[in-house]
């Protein structure tokens, strides 16, 4: 295993710390958004601080849940569906 590989493997064991750092960074970004506002508003609501944070979070959650829980069960077939049916 290369040194780089060992470093990455070591990081695996530190998920709690990494997650904490990640949440801290997110909080910092929203905090910064209170002071830094868009120079030009794309559409009305992005003038509010935290809009794009909410957009990313809600958009991501909705996409995953709708696609994996509702759409995929409807449109998915067995892994070898086309092999068996052609």
């Amino acid at each position: 295993m290369s040194l780089f590989g060992m470093l990455l493997n070591w990081l695996r064991g530190k998920t709690c710390i990494l997650a904490a750092l990640f949440f801290l960074a997110l909080a910092g970004l929203v905090g910064a958004n209170v002071f830094i506002r868009p120079h030009e508003v794309e559409f009305v609501y992005d003038a509010y601080p935290g809009f794009w944070a909410l957009f990313g979070l809600v958009g991501g959650l909705a996409m995953v849940i709708i696609m994996k829980k509702i759409v995929q069960p409807m449109i998915s077939r067995g892994d070898d569906y086309y092999e068996r049916n052609s």
């Binding site: 997110l26 559409f43 909410l54 991501g60 959650l61 995929q72 998915s76 067995g78």
Partner: protein, 594 residues
């Protein structure tokens, strides 16, 4: 073909020359020759002055092989760079046919880019289709064979739309000039040509060939394919059809559609394929909106996209090469064994997501901000949603389940990855970062004059991107158990293509075969009876003593019989070949007379 005129070395020449000599070169040293056409191409496009070069006459038409302007040059430039990266990545491959077909394909892309008329464009368009089909077939397994046939059939149909359109257009306007069409004055033939282009641009719902075929190509072949087919189509759309409203809508639909499917896909190369649909959507939308900024955004994004998508396919190719599969449910826990593949892949993954410091950030935002400035708010919002999905699937899901996901996997057998594959990836990664940090590297080549320059590196743009991507990351964190990929086939529009295919087969094998049977029967009863009567007459005639004449005609009849028996072999491929030859003959004749 006089491709070299007034000092322009057409990049296609190098690639086709290599394709022609490669079969005759012995030993292993020929591999170094693979790097020459790309280097010549880079030199050529960086030094050539805009102008018209290389006219040739064929079938009474004047072909313009070298229309060199800012628009064609920037596409040719990135094609040249990508061809070098792709060739470096493919250096270890011993199969000459793969390299030959890559040359045919890449040369075709250059031919299309510099084509000044529809006829030249069509010829190189078909060369690309043939080259890329072989890049799929040469994976040499059952799945790729079938996928290659589907791909070829689909692109042949797309090519026919283009051919029908350009012939109709020729009939109406009397030339093959390939220029911009005013959107409000589009005729039926323009729509036909547009349809042909849209097939190659993978515009939904004509897109399903892409996620069907690209995951089945060779490890190195898919790296070429992901760069050239759709981007050549983007180039011709930009040249011919910018400002067409339908493209603005279609492009935005592509953006979202691609990410939704990628979200539930299991095969890494298929996830990346759906993201081609999505990313090309930004370009198509930018072209459709048609302001200088969105069109420049489309061009910049095409440039950046070729680099990072090539790198993504190289990373996934490494997984396929080493582990033998790209299915995420079978991978996982490999990060410590392929750390550099992961790191280089991540450069591309962050680029496609539009993370600051990487080239997607300076290209994608340009199209989105351009759309917003053109007051196409909803299109811009949908593009932002697609950006969220892109980071979810390509930025986090794919690397998470391929490299991390499961506990450290020390048992899976991994084939060592050749150095040249790493070198190819490193080249791509360096360019992705360099363009992200120095946007002017890319912006200075953009073809359209803008009212005001676009500056991606403002505090707000950086913060907005980080907020959007950071919280998409949080969404992944929350749903990581839901998004876990499953080994499933997700039905897409190719389900309908296959239905149409089966319908056509049924039509041929049942009603048409029935008609054929009846016809044969009728022929046997009526035709043969007639012939027998005629024969009796001939016998009678013969017995009357004109032996010499009849002997002669008997021989003729026999010869004609042998010939027609040869034609009626009952083998479909021979009928197809015959029909194609006949079609070409008629085509040439019509042309000659017209």
């Amino acid at each position: 073909m006089s491709a070299i005129a007034s000092g322009f070395v057409h990049p296609t020449v190098g690639f086709y020359a290599l394709a022609l000599v490669l079969p005759f070169l012995p030993g292993k040293a020929w591999k170094w020759l693979l790097l020459i056409p790309p280097v010549v191409a880079i030199w050529s496009v960086m030094t050539i002055e805009p102008g018209l070069y290389g006219q040739a006459s064929w079938l009474g038409q004047t072909l313009l092989l070298g229309r060199v302007d800012k628009m064609s040059l920037i596409f040719a430039q990135v094609f040249a760079v990508m061809s070098l990266i792709g060739m470096v990545y493919a250096l270890h491959v011993d199969d000459k046919l793969q390299h030959i077909m890559a040359c045919v394909y890449v040369g075709g892309a250059f031919g299309c880019t510099f084509a000044g008329d529809f006829l030249t464009l069509f010829i190189f368009w078909e060369f690309m289709s043939i080259g890329s089909t072989f890049l799929i077939w040469l994976a040499r397994n059952e799945r790729s064979t079938k996928a290659g046939f589907r791909y070829f059939m689909y692109h042949t149909i797309g090519g026919l739309f283009l051919l029908i359109g350009l012939l109709m257009r020729y009939k109406a306007v009397g030339n093959f000039d390939f220029d911009h069409v005013v959107p409000t004055q589009m005729m039926a033939y323009d729509w036909m040509i547009l349809l042909g282009f849209c097939v190659n641009a993978a515009v939904v719902p004509l897109h399903a060939w892409l996620p069907d075929a690209y995951p089945e190509g060779t490890v190195t072949g898919s790296v070429f394919m992901c760069a050239f087919t759709t981007k050549t189509a983007v180039y011709v759309l930009l040249r011919g059809f910018h400002g067409v409203e339908a493209l603005a809508i279609a492009g935005t639909v592509m953006c979202v559609y691609g990410v939704l499917y990628a979200c539930i896909e299991n095969n890494a190369r298929r996830i990346l394929s759906y993201h081609i649909v999505s990313q090309v959507g930004y370009m198509v939308a930018g072209i459709g909106i048609g302001t200088a900024m969105t069109m420049n955004g489309a061009v910049a994004h095409a440039y950046a996209h070729i680099l990072y998508k090539g790198l993504l396919f190289m990373g996934a190719g490494c997984l396929l090469y080493a582990a033998g599969t790209t299915k995420l449910d079978k991978l996982g826990g490999l990060v410590h064994r392929m750390p550099w593949v992961m790191a280089l892949y991540m450069v591309a993954a962050l680029s496609i997501s539009g993370m600051p410091l990487f080239n997607g950030f300076i290209s994608k935002t340009m199209t989105i901000v351009g759309a917003a400035e053109a007051h196409r708010t909803w299109l811009a919002v949908c593009m932002e949603i697609a950006a969220v999905g892109t980071f979810l699937s390509v930025g986090i899901k794919l690397p998470y389940f391929a490299f991390w996901g499961k506990p450290a996997n020390n048992t899976m057998e991994l084939k060592p990855i050749p150095v040249n594959m790493y070198v190819g990836m490193a080249m791509g990664a360096v360019l992705c970062i360099a363009q992200g940090v120095y946007p002017d590297m890319l912006y200075r080549y953009l073809p359209f004059e803008m009212e005001h320059a676009y500056h991606p590196w403002t505090v707000w743009h950086v913060l907005q991107s980080l907020l959007l991507l950071g919280f998409s990351g949080l969404a992944f964190y929350i749903t990581r158990d839901i998004i876990t990929p499953h080994a499933k086939t997700n039905l897409d529009f190719d389900f309908f293509y296959r239905l149409i295919g089966r319908g056509a087969l049924a039509l041929v094998s049942k009603p048409l075969a029935w008609i054929d049977d009846r016809w044969t029967e009728a022929y046997r009863v009526a035709g043969l009876g007639g012939l027998l009567t005629l024969a009796r007459g001939t016998v009678w005639f013969d017995t009357k003593g004109i032996d010499t004449v009849v002997d002669g005609s008997a021989y003729t009849v026999q010869n004609v019989g042998v010939l027609s028996a040869k034609v009626q072999t009952g083998r479909l491929q021979e009928y197809l070949g015959l029909a194609a030859a006949l079609g070409l003959g008629i085509f040439a004749l019509v042309w000659y007379l017209a």
